[in-house]
Symmetry: D2
Subunit: 347 residues, 4 copies
Amino acid sequence: MVQPATLNNARRDFYERLGSLSMAPLWESLHQLVPPQPMPKYRPACWRYDAVRPFLMESGTLITAREAVRRVLILENPAMPGSACITPTLYAGLQLILPGEVAPSHRHTQSALRFIVEGEGAYTAVDGERTIMHEGDFVITPTWTWHDHGNDSSRPMVWLDGLDIPLVAMFNAGFAENGESEEQAVTAPEGTSEAKYASGLLPVDWKPARQTSPIFNYPYARTREALHRLTRAGPADACHGYKLRYVNPANGGAPIATMGTFMQLLPKGFASAPYRCTDGTVFSVVEGHGESRIGDTTFRWKKRDHFVVPSWATAVHQATDESVLFSFSDRPVQERLDLWRENRGGR
Amino acid sequence: MVQPATLNNARRDFYERLGSLSMAPLWESLHQLVPPQPMPKYRPACWRYDAVRPFLMESGTLITAREAVRRVLILENPAMPGSACITPTLYAGLQLILPGEVAPSHRHTQSALRFIVEGEGAYTAVDGERTIMHEGDFVITPTWTWHDHGNDSSRPMVWLDGLDIPLVAMFNAGFAENGESEEQAVTAPEGTSEAKYASGLLPVDWKPARQTSPIFNYPYARTREALHRLTRAGPADACHGYKLRYVNPANGGAPIATMGTFMQLLPKGFASAPYRCTDGTVFSVVEGHGESRIGDTTFRWKKRDHFVVPSWATAVHQATDESVLFSFSDRPVQERLDLWRENRGGR
Amino acid sequence: MVQPATLNNARRDFYERLGSLSMAPLWESLHQLVPPQPMPKYRPACWRYDAVRPFLMESGTLITAREAVRRVLILENPAMPGSACITPTLYAGLQLILPGEVAPSHRHTQSALRFIVEGEGAYTAVDGERTIMHEGDFVITPTWTWHDHGNDSSRPMVWLDGLDIPLVAMFNAGFAENGESEEQAVTAPEGTSEAKYASGLLPVDWKPARQTSPIFNYPYARTREALHRLTRAGPADACHGYKLRYVNPANGGAPIATMGTFMQLLPKGFASAPYRCTDGTVFSVVEGHGESRIGDTTFRWKKRDHFVVPSWATAVHQATDESVLFSFSDRPVQERLDLWRENRGGR
Amino acid sequence: MVQPATLNNARRDFYERLGSLSMAPLWESLHQLVPPQPMPKYRPACWRYDAVRPFLMESGTLITAREAVRRVLILENPAMPGSACITPTLYAGLQLILPGEVAPSHRHTQSALRFIVEGEGAYTAVDGERTIMHEGDFVITPTWTWHDHGNDSSRPMVWLDGLDIPLVAMFNAGFAENGESEEQAVTAPEGTSEAKYASGLLPVDWKPARQTSPIFNYPYARTREALHRLTRAGPADACHGYKLRYVNPANGGAPIATMGTFMQLLPKGFASAPYRCTDGTVFSVVEGHGESRIGDTTFRWKKRDHFVVPSWATAVHQATDESVLFSFSDRPVQERLDLWRENRGGR
């Protein structure tokens, strides 16, 4: 039925007068506000390490870790320039620390994960304990914990930083403080957390004081062995190959309340069934090479490359060699809010 | 120490080349990304019902509930024009339904609350049961439940809609469907949910299928009586007067996983101590009149007015008469993510 | 195959020598220790109030509440004489308090429930607050809380006491203390707990300090109304009629961690389907009359009678008039330990 | 004040008449029923392996595993002869399985733990998966899971069985079934559960179907290494030395809902501070030797000896050599029921 022009004019006039009271008509935007399915405003993207590494090394010549506080190149979603976001809820960046450098102690309500991409021997210190990092290790610096990094090795070290910066920003709930000294005092020998919390047993009278995992380094050697044993224990999942989630032993949940972290093995020649889910996910290639079709885009990837799969985009992964992929997303938050959905088959 | 111009130039050049790879230097934005404390980009605002009501009634002459699907005037934060947000995580609007009208059945993953501002006798139907709404009633339409509204009374009816639209949008996890018929079939007599779930007892073998409350109407008569009895039971809280949170009897949590809902009574002459918290909060005045200073802004309010207090803004409330305020925020989400903070004293 | 006598003798001799080391052969008792299904060593039983009341009143002439501390006639399972148990995990008794009497203040780790059988106007005080009790009220005195009772009315008052005494005894985890004064100081006006916790809302910043319900009187008027409304809301359950469980509003669980409490309405003429479950259950008849077949035993019952249904005994209830039954059992403990089972049909 | 004989007689007469109605006066037994502190009716006891082993081996000549179903010598508390209990809630026994024998498949609601005392190479099968057992391994057969045992090695094998038989018996909630075949079909390769659940990660989409741990063998090699690392990580606890609890990685709780399991290391020369708690505890000595004073009784112990500490009995342990003790108790149940207490200092 045709809308008489007069009514259109009346509405237009009405909308203008409404605006001056900071009001707007829902009916003109309902469909965009409550879409039939997710319509992300961000894109798949891939950062080849071959292209990224020279920039990382150049950044080492342009600013010190001390001056930068954190010398990080942000991986910014190409559809969100200037946002410092890789997805609407997640931040990702590649951090460089050179031999002898220190990234000074601070703390913030944003939770951070570190996934080691290149090098070994640098440390992360959390709450008075240091852990030496190796390629493939997954390290957490939980919300509001003092943390600093230093490189006592002879090689540059690069890791992926994943933080919930955009999520915390949306809640306007971020707080931060700088430490009094660059490096926090070491109060516990290295390995204390692993000895106490990572054995499948827990100290008899220990009660967790927060949701985050008491383990702050999940070493790759152990994770890799677990993946290997999984391949012996049964068939691969059609969509995921062999996929595990990192766990907080104190409650069975995610080590970080705001970000889920995953490691998966794709057997040589594996081609996944199409799959999509509502958690936009950042991937870091740990081993092997292959390619992924994400929506209409295809990326070839190999060790140390990074790519992002947007919410509800259908992904298909193919592994040329046996490949291992680390990934993280906001899935634990979506699950707790009854928002998370997946579609096996990707339709 | 002065920065040599050459280094500045080298960095500028570096940043430009970086941008072409969708990368950016963290150190240039670290302080904005990880601020020392919340710096909301939105403002306190107040919508006086005297000013809003004529527009609501005019909207009734410009579009039908059927055509509009939901005839709502969005309360948009003046600092976020075009965003349809009252805070970065919350949507609020005032919905009008005229005698004889129907707002057709649909469902969406966004959760909605209705707080009745004016009129009585219209119904909300959820999952086959209708509830008649009265002023001050708090009604929920949980995530992914079919719901429709109709007004069989002889008066226009206006309520506050509160939804988690921006939150769900950030997760890109929204789904929606329209019902096959305008009004869903009624399969349970009115009062079924209240009889089963609102007595302080629960059906012996009932297990909740979801996090949201099985009660979908929390009537004002009962809430008001609870507030009245609280005033007899002890002194007012210095910051909140007498303040209660609505509860899901199945788990003691919020009736809606993504939004906390509150009702508070301010005694006649009560002046609150300064207070701030990280959950930006939307208020609806149910009874009385008074004024609130929010940061540097002061609003006088009375029955049916609405106002918003941003995250970490210090608020002081004064009640000229005994006043009752309904409010909602994202506090339950922040609490579950260990993000929520408050400051009694407002400093 | 026949067992040679020599072997039997050798075993007998072996068993004797074993005994001297406090050891015994499992294979001689395995079947009793791990039975195919529950084989309770206790019986159904019924206590008619007509028969019990004269003894209660006589007890009032033989001992004071003060001297007795608690003037209670224990309802002892006839199959467990001297055990003070009505089931292997539960204690039940009928307590008499006469006008002007006081049952002095004490506390113990055993949790207690009171269900009011006759009279009104006496109080129970818990943690500094008193509640006046009426017939049909359900009152709790949680583990390790100071409590005392007094009767300021002009009539004798009788209530059912239900405690987890045998359960706590088996764990050897019982502690008790007597108060310094007979009556604890009143520090909160009557109705404080109900005002704060029983409205369907909770104080905004209140966090439960223990598992037990913050409500300590669930008044019959409200429970009865809930049952009445349930009968309007849908059909009766074939086994239970209309049955509700009392709930702790802070967590949706049982008001007392060790005992589940229930209230059910059987419509006039209702005959239940056979039913059995692993929680031995104590019933108190609140209204009406009827009869119950429990295993091979049938009891006729009316208002104020009490009876017990053993674990896994098949029960069939018939209501001559509309009847209301209160009951309690250890079901919450069995459910938390994954032990609870039921069989609808009773086979 | 003296009680007149007439009143005594009246009461005695009253009690007799009461008895005929299956009632009893609480006031005559209140103090025993609600004691000021735990007064266990069971005793400390110790079973020296030197004395027990000959009986175990003799049992192997008197009955086959097949005929016995489980060839176990029950460790029966000397104060509860004929009860088959080591504490009022726990059963313990030593099971012998000879080379080539099979303990046939069955399942029961009682949960069982196995702690390997002597030998290696025998298997336990649970839900279609076998695990080979070694000294010091902790193996669970969760409630209602099919399980069988076999010894394909060339040596006899002995383990400690710990079950919640008395607890389940008190609830009258025990069910049991025999398998159709002696040995259940093997449907998963050995190591499947460990690969899936024991790495600190969990399968991405796995949701636990029950409370019990998905890991069914916690190998000693790993537990021992954890204890060793703990000794490097900090000082010993004054009461416990270095003590860990076994954990279900799916929820951070006990691997078995009804029984807590613990492993502790006492450094050479360690003398514990006096300690008591309400959970009666069964100990199995894994390494070293020393002595324990429990109440007024002192036991010297060495590898493979077993002893029991009653509820609330003060225990002091001294280690002549570095010693390792496994133990189990009902602590998780008491904690969930808010009943558990401890006293460091033992007073």
